[in-house]
């Protein structure tokens, strides 16, 4: 095995594959790597996509972590040009003290700018602010046919095709992002508990628009009348006037770094139906019935799991997956049906997250669209799981919904095509910059994206 070969998986620790890893440090080196790749090539960030998006079996994986330029944030406009390999964690550690925050925050800060663009990530504010690419003003993109700067004005087709393209339109070198101004590094949070799914969804449908950030945690493990009981947390950036005591001394403090790590992979099954059920129960009970105006740090509000490094290892050797879909408002019943199906099939799910999305942007492969999105963390193991998820795919597809590629590790090419009707348009645009199909990943091969 040559010394730059690595066995790679996504965050779910499933389907490993071997690739040559290259680590370019600048645009020139990226261009050389693209030219010299003996076979296929795909970029990779921090490997936080769950499945096989940042893998290229038998080919070349280009780590973006050497693309590390970071210009100061323009104090007047809040625009910043960031290397594709800079993580959101690294960006906020310099932006927060200057009074700026990232426009979109996923459930972990450990994702790179390249990964954020490639997945067109969304946060708890999608219903108000849209997804990451809605805040990107320009991208420096290295493609097999040349390197160019793309903006929504100059190259609308390629720009939007790159949103959610999972690296298949080229290697992002850097991007200019519009940051949002903040007075403090705190969020004013309202928390409320609801006894079942209908009540949770009704409260979200009626109340989310009053908040910039909103998300619900839903218990999929309790059957019967309490099925889908939920805890909604919603919030807005806290103005300085809301801070008290110690907080007023450091109103703009960056999030603390990781404290704990899971140092090894315990046997599979540590997280099983019983322990997950107990966890969900405890989470529900510890949440207040209703509490308003609690001041939480950005880290606590957005990234409770970032406190434990490599927590994915807790799922054991078989790994786990995340199933995230979106359906339109008219098909909100699919959320209920999905939870019912999992519960009746005895599939354990840890931390189901329910959110409302705003409108879709022009990206043909961008995931978010107006409606409901549900994300389920499921350990691999139950033998019925593969078939149950295939059944869910059908339900979601028939309702005109779709799965999130950044989380996917098992969708079939047929269902993928049905879920992304703009795929043809994407493939046409892609042909113009990659006629030979040099850019390919395990995901693109699995889903048959050409």
């Amino acid at each position: 095995m040559s010394n730059h070969q690595e066995l790679l998986t996504g965050w779910g620790n499933t389907a490993p594959s071997l690739a040559d890893v290259v680590r370019p440090r600048n645009e020139e080196e990226v261009t050389t790597d693209l030219q010299n790749a003996p076979g296929s090539l795909i970029a990779r960030g921090l490997g936080r996509s769950y499945g096989d998006a940042a893998q290229c079996a038998g080919g070349t994986v280009l780590s973006n972590r050497g693309l590390w330029n970071l210009t100061p944030i323009d104090p007047l406009t809040g625009l910043v040009t960031v290397g594709a390999g800079v993580s959101l964690d690294e960006l906020v550690s310099i932006s927060i003290p200057a009074g700026w925050f990232i426009p979109v925050t996923p459930g972990t800060r450990q994702v790179t700018i390249g990964g954020a663009i490639a997945a067109d990530i969304h946060g708890k504010n999608h219903h108000v602010d849209g997804s990451f690419m809605n805040h990107v003003r320009s991208i420096r993109l290295a493609t097999p046919t040349g390197t160019l700067t793309i903006t929504p004005e100059s190259e609308p087709e390629l720009f939007w095709a790159t949103a959610g393209a999972m690296g298949l339109t080229g290697v992002v070198i850097d991007a200019t992002v519009q940051m949002i101004p903040i007075e403090t590094s705190y969020i004013s949070v309202d928390t409320e508990r609801f006894p079942n799914l209908d009540a949770t969804m009704a409260a979200m449908a009626s109340g989310d628009d009053d908040y910039r950030y909103s998300v619900a945690w839903v218990d999929c493990m309790t059957a019967g009348a309490s099925m889908g009981r939920g805890v909604i947390t919603r919030g807005d950036h806290a103005p300085k006037s809301m801070l008290e005591g110690k907080q007023t001394r450091h109103p703009l403090s960056p999030p603390a770094s990781t404290k704990l790590a899971v140092p090894f992979t315990p046997p599979s099954g540590l997280l099983n139906r019983l322990s997950i059920k107990a966890f969900n129960e405890a989470w529900f009970r510890k949440s207040p019935k209703k509490r308003d105006g609690e001041i939480q740090s950005l880290g606590t509000f957005f990234h409770p799991l970032d406190g434990v490094d490599w927590w994915n290892r807790l799922h054991g050797h078989r790994g786990f997956l995340q199933y995230q879909f979106v359906v339109s408002d008219a098909h909100g019943d699919v959320v209920t049906k999905a939870i019912e199906l999992l519960s009746s099939q005895k599939v354990p799910s840890f931390l189901a997250v329910l959110k409302r999305f705003g409108p879709h942007n022009p990206g043909p492969l961008s995931f978010p669209m107006k409606g409901w999105t549900l994300a389920l963390d499921i350990p691999i193991g139950p033998p019925q799981l593969a078939g149950v998820l295939d059944q869910l795919d059908l339900m979601v597809g028939e309702a005109g919904g779709r799965l999130y590629l950044a989380k996917d590790s098992r969708l079939s090419p047929q269902q993928f095509r049905a879920m992304y009707p703009q795929l043809g348009e994407f493939e046409r645009i892609r042909k113009t910059i990659d006629p030979q199909g040099l850019l390919a990943s395990d995901l693109s091969r699995r889903l048959g994206i050409s």
């Binding site: 095995m1 389907a15 033998p383």
Partner: protein, 254 residues
């Protein structure tokens, strides 16, 4: 590509008319498998099996005729199989093998040697040819059908049992050699399965039909287990079999 459940999209069967293997592939086609290459000795049997898989929804099924009596053809068979599959193969199922009639083999040196060629030497050559292909493609899965008969050989079928014992042992080391490359290797150890290979024979203890055996194997292929026992309780039985003193072992009904 294989997905998070290890479900393959392309499959090569060496021993392409094996009932167990075909029954496994049928189930894989119902999940994610689109491309199948069936390689075997009997052209009409292969064609029939191929048509059946097409009817079950496989998009591309190709056949490839070879005879496992000639190990020097193994490299060519593997090369052709990859070509027919379109360049890469997610799962290779090795199901080459014959039972032989021990009563005849007792006094047939050529026959005994030929059984070793078919059941052991050829598969070993093919697996060796496969190795570099899988390393180059950077992922893959090999499942080798051995047998409970190889766990402890019996008077009644010791030539067959010994070929399977050899294949089983080879596969264990082969598995270790491919682990660093992300290639998964599993040994399948079925008990007595009622197929055309065992037609006319009295049922041994723990016999199963092809369907249930295939169900167990498909489940096992998705698991991290290094050995797939079919039926699963054979794992415990094998423990007992291995530890029985010879005097007792020879008294077991055959």
């Amino acid at each position: 590509m294989r997905n998070a459940f290890g479900q393959p999209q392309s499959v090569l069967v060496l021993g392409g008319t094996s009932e167990i293997a075909l029954s496994v592939v049928e189930r894989l086609v119902a999940a994610r498998t689109q491309t199948v290459v069936l390689a075997g000795r009997n052209p009409s049997g292969l064609d029939l099996a191929a048509q059946e898989l097409r009817d079950k929804g496989a998009q591309s099924v190709e056949t490839l005729v070879f005879d496992a009596d000639e190990p020097s053809n193994a490299q060519g068979v593997i090369d052709q199989a990859f070509e027919k599959a379109g360049g890469s193969i997610d799962l290779v199922l090795i199901a080459v093998g014959q039972l032989g009639d021990q009563d005849l083999l007792d006094n047939d040196p050529d026959g005994a040697a030929a059984l070793f060629t078919t059941n052991l030497t050829w598969p070993v050559a093919a697996m060796t040819a496969l190795r570099s292909k899988l390393i180059t493609q950077g992922s893959g899965h090999v499942a080798v059908i051995a047998s409970i008969a190889g766990v402890r050989v019996r008077r009644a079928n010791f030539t067959y049992g010994a070929t399977k014992a050899g294949l089983d042992a080879f596969t264990q080391g082969y598995s270790d050699s491919l682990k660093p490359y992300g290639v998964k290797v599993q040994i399948i150890r079925p008990g007595f399965v009622r197929t055309k290979m065992t037609e006319g024979m009295a049922d041994a203890p723990f016999s199963t039909d092809v369907g249930p055996a295939a169900d167990t194997i498909v489940k096992g292929l998705s698991s991290p287990a290094s050995v797939i026992w079919s039926p699963p309780l054979l794992q415990g039985v094998a423990l007992v079999m291995r530890s029985l003193p010879g005097v007792l072992w020879r008294k077991m009904p055959s």
